[in-house]
């Protein structure tokens, strides 16, 4: 394929990835690497590099919009970033040590798990217990604007959330993804933070997490400017469009569509990884 056609097709594909990623809070990166490797026949390491750079663009671009809405919790984000950045550093170092086929298999599992998480509906039981004393000490309990006005919330199980965040960071560094699904699991499921606050704070954290492994990637030559350019510009514009829709639409049907896409890509990554096609 020639430069012009390749760049244009990649830009369109990335635009869709960014749009869906922002809408679901799962990030565009989770579909970018399979998109690049399966459909554009890009080497896994170049794909991971381009994906990671785009993840920073998505996170920073949409965090700006979310912050103005008042959904993000900066304190929760900053505290948990200690875990995600340390994990990201570890993950980025592991990328050079782990064979490509193993990375592909891990990627497939992460995709299937992301889809499973996004489909699982958790009954929102009202928790009567007192918030985690650690959360109170770290000033994490806060409020966010809801349809009915300002809604306050408490934060639970901080150590469990911190632990999952380290794992999310390691996966982010290993696979060049934002690990949005795992970050949302840590906040939404473990720490019982309201879904909208979880997804937006997750988006906010992803950029800092990705920056922690980007330096390692750059020095290893994983980041190719001509490949990352259309991917980054596409994902950025797509995610900005997706962010605008998030506040208005119900996420239910969209998450279903996105989950199906993720499952298909996950199965493909698993098959190719097991078959040693990377």
């Amino acid at each position: 394929m020639n430069v012009l056609a390749f760049t244009f097709l990649l830009w369109i594909g990335s635009l869709f990835a960014g749009f869906l990623g922002a809408l679901t809070g799962l990030g565009g990166g989770v579909v970018l690497v399979p998109l690049l490797t399966i459909f554009f026949h890009v080497d896994l390491r170049y794909a991971i590099g381009a994906s990671l750079v785009s993840v920073i663009a998505t996170s920073s671009g949409s965090a700006a919009a979310y912050l103005k809405e008042g959904f993000s919790n900066i304190r929760i984000g900053m505290f948990l970033e200690i875990a995600t950045t340390l994990g990201a550093l570890l993950g980025a170092y592991l990328t050079a040590k782990v064979p490509a086929s193993v990375i592909a298999i891990i990627f497939g599992i992460v995709l299937l798990y992301s889809a499973y998480v996004s489909r699982r509906t958790r009954p929102r039981e009202e928790i009567a217990q007192a918030p985690d004393p650690i959360a109170t000490k770290l000033k994490m309990n806060s409020s966010f604007p809801d349809t009915t006005g300002l809604r306050t919330y408490n934060v639970y199980r901080v150590p469990a959330g911190f632990g999952i965040m380290f794992g999310a960071g390691a996966l982010s560094g290993l696979l060049g993804i934002g690990s949005g699904a795992l970050k949302v699991v840590a906040m939404d499921q473990a720490m019982k933070i309201p879904f909208k606050v979880s997804t937006t704070t997750s988006n906010f954290m992803i950029g800092v997490t990705a920056a922690a492994s980007a330096g390692v990637y750059l020095s290893r030559g994983y980041i190719d400017p001509a490949l990352a350019m259309p991917v980054m510009l596409g994902v950025l514009i797509g995610s900005l469009m997706g962010t605008r829709v998030l506040v208005k639409t119900r996420t239910k049907s969209l998450r279903l569509v996105f989950s199906v896409v993720i499952v298909l890509l996950g199965v493909e990554m698993l098959i190719k990884g097991i078959g040693g096609k990377f």
């Binding site: 900066i74 970033e81 950029g207 330096g215 390692v216 030559g221």
Partner: protein
Amino acid sequence: MDSLDNPKHPLSNADWYEEQVENTIAQLLRGGVLLAAVVVIAGAVLYLGSSPLAHVSYRTFQGEPEHLKSVHGIVRSAFAGQARSIMQLGLLLLIATPIARVIFSVFAFAIESDRMYVIFTLIVLGVLLYSLFGSFLVA
């Protein structure tokens, strides 16, 4: 924050301050991404204009040349007018954006006298700077 609930309700100092911080971070992130995108697009125009019909393939990993792998090399070759280096400079600005945000947060928490969060933020900043410069030293 409170003002969304009742516009006439006077904000407390802390709430007003936090809202200012959030607005500034939002502008910082947006500005950084916008600047990065403009530089990447400038490089892209040069790159696509120079050889639009050349064959391209990323099937095999070769790694990037030395001048695209370090901050110093990227800046120098970008100012020499190389299209790929200009795009890489834009990507470098993008990587720098979250780092700038963390640096800003250090000062924001310091002004608020929130020593605990100043320390948390400095830890995060340390990890980020180690990644960007520590790995270059090794490489």
